[in-house]
């Protein structure tokens, strides 16, 4: 740079000017936090140091409100849960051993607020960010999934967000060549100004290719490569007024990051080649907090220190100040640690892929992170204090007073339940349910995503889980499902979180896969509200307890707080991503019956109680109150184990879980999956369980699944259920001749009519 456009606030200058006013509050630091920074440094921070501490100590990066609770995921573990875990929580993403020398890494993250401000770019960069997490572990990304939550379907602003987010997820993911194999779409007024865009990515690698991001080895080079650094995502940093004395420069930096999927696709191939040739010691992706995060985390994870010359950063915008460069969230950038001996190989690979890079500095043994600008030291910190030793809060939490009233407001007997459908009215009720925004076909969304690319997709939406082959020789593969039931969590955060976990577990097992690992994305309101903090604490406790009961570890995830507008928080939304393993994806179980299954027996596994509180039917009638369905994880585990074994042994040809919308939704979806009808009789099972036909169809009792059993397997099937003492009931047969869902004695629903209702809703609203 030829002329200085700002006052350089050096470490020396900071020590000499202790009383300089700094905009710590505008950068989001609390007074006690700013005092801590001064105490750590023994002086006031420089502008650049303030920028680093403020972003790294933000809720988003430091988990300062949540980590006292999150540590349960590391504490509530059994030996069983650790046996396949190769890398646990704390790295960019956890890694699980799936056998045959293969390892899988997966993670789910939120990109909520940016997706409200600029839906297309927010969603696109959300996909980009999670994919970089996977790459940095040394894995090849093989699939993505996106649980999305929007405001009311008919609210005037919802279409803007839906169109942008879906196009953004597709535009970025499709361009990377990653099949999108599942997710969720929910509409609820609580997400009106707080849509939730969560993104999951999964990657695979050989055991020997696992890499951890740390800076070790004195003399190793620290290199920034990929896209150039611009002003993306540093809206907040513009308050670093003390740095700027040129009023003519753009006063407001863009808060919006713009993604370039082509640049990321090249980064994927380029990083894999770096890993394959063992050219790098480690790679760190640049996400939130950009270079601040990458340098402090790499240095903090290594055993030594690091020196960086910030003037070496390749810039898209030459007017950026050092603080802004440190905070920039420009996308598609990575930081590598490379030994001098490998520099030539590194440069060759960069040249092959036409990727720009610059050497910023090197690893040393100072145990300090020092950053210079034009030869002057502007940062001199212990990297651990920036990256890992940020503030921790024991936020007060308390069960809100209104919780009792909410739980006392049961759906059965309420005004909303006054005209409970029966007999032939059930037909209209099922049609209404299957056309409702939350149970209608999500084909309008998923048809905008590529599910074929890579040629390894064995199951995708609308099946219960996405299934992707990992090994083409053996058929070894993984299944993934993401689930949340925020309405249950609103009624009881502890039980609601466990229900989300149970549903994800069940979905994976239903596809025929053995559930092995969890990643979670915890979306909540403001932690400064004790009631919200209580929801959060209860949900985390529920998940941690539940994972221990199910014997699956949490391998990583993300927390998104402050999802609220004014005093109105979103429903607590703990999204659970479950991964399972299939020895041969060719044996995966479809979620519906095909024509050649004509005459197969349909069984309902599990028992039904009248559990309509928080249900989809109650939502249709505008009711949210009472207690969520009872969660019995021992039963879920039993059911999951049976579904996996039955699938492997050929005892079932299709299986579909029973969840939101109850048996009515499960049967409808199983019929619509391949357009093959069924004749169902619910009299006996309703009598066994002591509920009416309506509750049989619409109750959301847990630990249930609908399966189709070949005639020749019925004896073995029943023997297994009996041996395991698991309730089962034969409720009908697959009927390929009659294209209808026929519930005997109650109603018959033509599948063409059902499909029109099911598939018309999103098209009608969004075109």
């Amino acid at each position: 740079m030829t002329e200085q456009q700002f006052n350089l606030d050096t470490v020396e200058h900071a020590a000499d000017t202790p009383d300089t006013e700094l905009p710590w509050a505008e950068l989001g630091l609390k007074e006690n936090e700013f005092d801590d920074v001064k105490k750590i440094l023994g002086r006031r921070p420089t502008a650049a140091e303030l920028a680093m501490y403020s972003v790294m100590w933000s809720e988003h990066c430091s988990y300062k409100s949540s980590k006292v609770h999150l540590k349960q995921f590391g504490q509530k573990v059994t030996e069983e849960m650790g046996k396949d875990l190769m890398v646990g929580i704390g790295e960019n993403a956890g890694v699980t051993d799936i056998g045959d020398g293969w390892a899988v890494t997966f993670k789910i993250e939120s990109h909520n607020h940016p997706s409200y401000v600029e839906p297309y770019q927010g969603a696109a960069t959300g996909v980009g960010g999670i994919v970089r997490d996977i790459i940095s572990m040394g894995a090849r990304p093989v699939a993505v999934m996106d649980p999305l939550r929007f405001g009311a379907i008919d609210h005037p602003d919802t279409a803007r967000v839906v169109h942008g987010v879906v196009a953004g997820v597709g535009g970025y993911g499709n361009s990377l060549g990653l099949p999108n194999v599942g997710g969720e779409v929910e509409f609820d007024p609580c997400y009106q100004a707080n849509p939730l865009v969560n993104a999951l990515a999964v990657g695979v690698m050989r055991h020997e290719d696992i890499r951890l991001a740390n800076a070790s080895g004195v003399g190793n080079q620290v290199i920034l490569f990929g896209a150039r650094t611009g002003g993306d995502g540093i809206g907040g940093a513009s308050v670093l007024a003390s740095e700027s004395f040129d009023d003519s420069k753009p006063s407001k930096r863009p808060a919006v990051q713009v993604g370039d999927p082509f640049a990321e696709k090249v980064l994927i191939e380029c990083c894999l080649e770096l890993f394959k040739g063992s050219v790098v010691e480690g790679i760190q992706d640049l996400g939130a907090a950009g270079i601040s995060c990458a340098t402090s985390e790499l240095a903090s994870n290594g055993e030594g220190g690091m020196h960086v010359d910030l003037t070496q950063v390749l810039l898209r915008d030459p007017t950026l100040t050092p603080g802004e460069i440190l905070m920039s969230e420009s996308q598609e950038r990575m930081m590598a640690v490379v030994s001098p001996a490998n520099m030539e190989s590194f440069e060759r690979i960069m040249e092959k892929w036409d990727v720009e890079y610059s050497v910023l500095g090197e690893v040393n043994d100072s145990r300090r992170l020092t950053i210079e600008w034009d030869g002057e030291i502007i940062v001199d910190v212990d990297p651990r204090t920036v990256a890992h030793e940020g503030p921790t809060y024991q936020r007060p939490y308390e069960r809100p007073e209104w919780q009792d009233a909410v739980q006392a407001d049961r759906f059965p007997g309420s005004e909303a339940d006054a005209a409970r459908p029966a007999g032939t009215d059930l037909r209209g009720a099922v049609l209404e349910l299957m056309a409702s925004p939350n149970l209608c076909s999500k084909g309008w969304v998923t048809d905008q995503y590529d599910r074929y690319v890579q040629g390894n997709t064995a199951l995708a939406q609308p099946d219960d889980a996405g299934v992707v082959r990992v090994d083409e020789q053996t058929g070894l593969g993984v299944a993934l499902s993401t689930d949340a039931n925020p309405r249950y969590a609103y009624l009881d955060p502890y039980e609601g979180a466990r229900a989300s976990l149970a549903e994800a577990y069940r979905n994976v097992a239903t596809s025929g896969a053995r559930p092995v690992a969890v990643s979670d994305c915890l979306n909540f309101g403001s932690p400064e509200d004790p009631a919200i903090m209580w929801q959060f604490a209860e949900a985390v406790r529920g998940l941690a307890d539940g994972c221990m009961e199910l014997g699956v570890p949490v391998t990583g995830g993300n927390v998104s707080l402050y999802n609220q507008t004014g005093g109105q928080a979103i429903n607590p939304t703990p999204v659970v991503a479950m991964m399972g393993v299939l020895d041969d994806v060719g044996r995966r179980t479809p979620s519906g019956w095909e024509a050649d299954q004509d005459g197969q027996a349909i069984y309902l596994l599990g028992e039904t109680a009248e559990e309509l509180d928080g249900s989809e039917w109650a939502r249709l009638r505008g009711h949210l109150g009472g207690l969520p369905p009872k969660v019995d994880l021992a039963a879920e585990r039993q059911l999951g184990d049976m579904l996996v074994n039955m699938s492997r042994d050929g005892m079932i040809d299709s299986a579909h879980d029973v969840a939101q919308g109850g048996l009515a939704a499960s049967l409808s979806e199983a019929c619509l999956r391949f357009g093959v009808g069924a004749r169902i009789g619910l009299g006996e099972v309703a009598e066994r369980d002591g509920v009416d036909t309506f509750a049989m169809l619409f109750s959301e009792s847990q630990a249930r699944a609908v399966v189709a059993v070949p005639r020749s397997e019925e004896v073995r099937f029943k023997d297994m259920c009996t041996a395991r003492n698991f309730p089962y009931a034969r409720i009908g047969v697959v009927d390929a001749e009659n294209g209808a869902l026929d519930v005997q004695g109650e109603f018959s629903l033509d599948l063409t009519e059902l499909r029109e209702a099911h598939e018309g809703t999103l098209r009608r609203h969004f075109g």
Partner: protein, 269 residues
């Protein structure tokens, strides 16, 4: 820059170098061109291998065709497609070499190089002017991924010689810029000369003129096709239907026949 370390297969995922069963077919070398943003090159290589041939990776920066007998330009977003789909890729050294070989007179009796451009590869071939027309955004403006029925209208190309004229197949369609357009004169010429190779059946998914899904050059050796035959080659991982009716879930393999057709044509030639 010639770089022999560029590989199409993903060693992390699969070994694509298996020995093919029929050694005559296996001797047929089919080049698969990769640009930095190409996405379906592994799928195209897998399709060639499953059909019995030998896939050969061709890197866009090179200009050596490595003695391949045919070339597939697979789908993806070759250069991010920020200017026009395929526009920048068409200028790559490898495409110059492909274009030359595809247009060669074949003085020694050898026929011109068979080339198949799929999706973005089709767009690259139109930008290279090997094929007429162009692609614009779908009439519904969205990316669309679905199983698509096609009629094979011309069997006078090496890629479709194994089909019956008018036969229907089902392969996945996935694109945002898939609407085929050409001026009236060109369309009339294509129709009159029987150069519409594939036409959408059961509804036009994107507003393409005359329902055109794929066309050939005048000599028939160069074919462009918008949908993806390489995604319908393996039971369990393809579409859930075929031209001849329903199949088990995801077990449609109609696309494989396009690659088989080529290999058999080349072996019997």
């Amino acid at each position: 820059m010639a770089d022999s370390s560029v590989t199409l297969e993903t060693p992390l995922i699969a070994d694509l170098g298996q020995e093919a069963a029929d050694s005559r077919l296996a001797r047929v070398r089919v080049g698969v061109v990769a640009f930095p943003g190409t996405l379906d090159e592994r799928d195209a290589a897998r399709a060639v291998r499953l059909a019995g041939g030998t896939p050969v990776p061709l890197w866009y920066k090179d200009s050596d065709l490595q003695d391949v007998d045919a070339v597939v330009v697979p789908g993806g977003f070759s250069y991010g497609d920020y200017l026009r789909a395929g526009a920048i890729a068409a200028k790559a050294p490898m495409m110059t070499a492909v274009a030359r070989a595809a247009q060669s007179r074949g003085t020694s009796g050898s026929s011109p190089l068979p080339v198949l451009g799929i999706c973005n590869g089709f767009q690259v071939l139109t930008e290279t002017h090997l094929l007429p027309g162009s692609m614009i955004k779908n009439d519904h403006l969205k990316f669309l991924c679905r199983d698509q029925r096609l009629a094979v209208e011309s069997t006078a190309t090496p890629w479709t010689a194994a089909f019956e004229p008018g036969e229907e197949i089902v392969v996945p369609l996935k694109n945002q810029d898939g609407q085929y357009v050409a001026d009236e004169g060109t369309l009339a010429e294509l129709e009159a000369e029987g150069r519409v190779v594939f036409r959408y059946a059961g509804g036009n998914p994107n507003g393409s003129r005359n329902g055109i899904a794929g066309v050939a050059n005048a000599r028939g050796n160069v074919v462009g096709l918008m949908p993806h035959p390489e995604h319908a080659v393996e039971p369990g991982f393809g579409p859930s239907s075929s031209g001849s009716g329903p199949v088990a879930m995801r077990s449609g393999t109609d696309g494989l026949r396009i690659f088989s057709s080529l290999l058999h044509q080349l072996v019997s030639a």
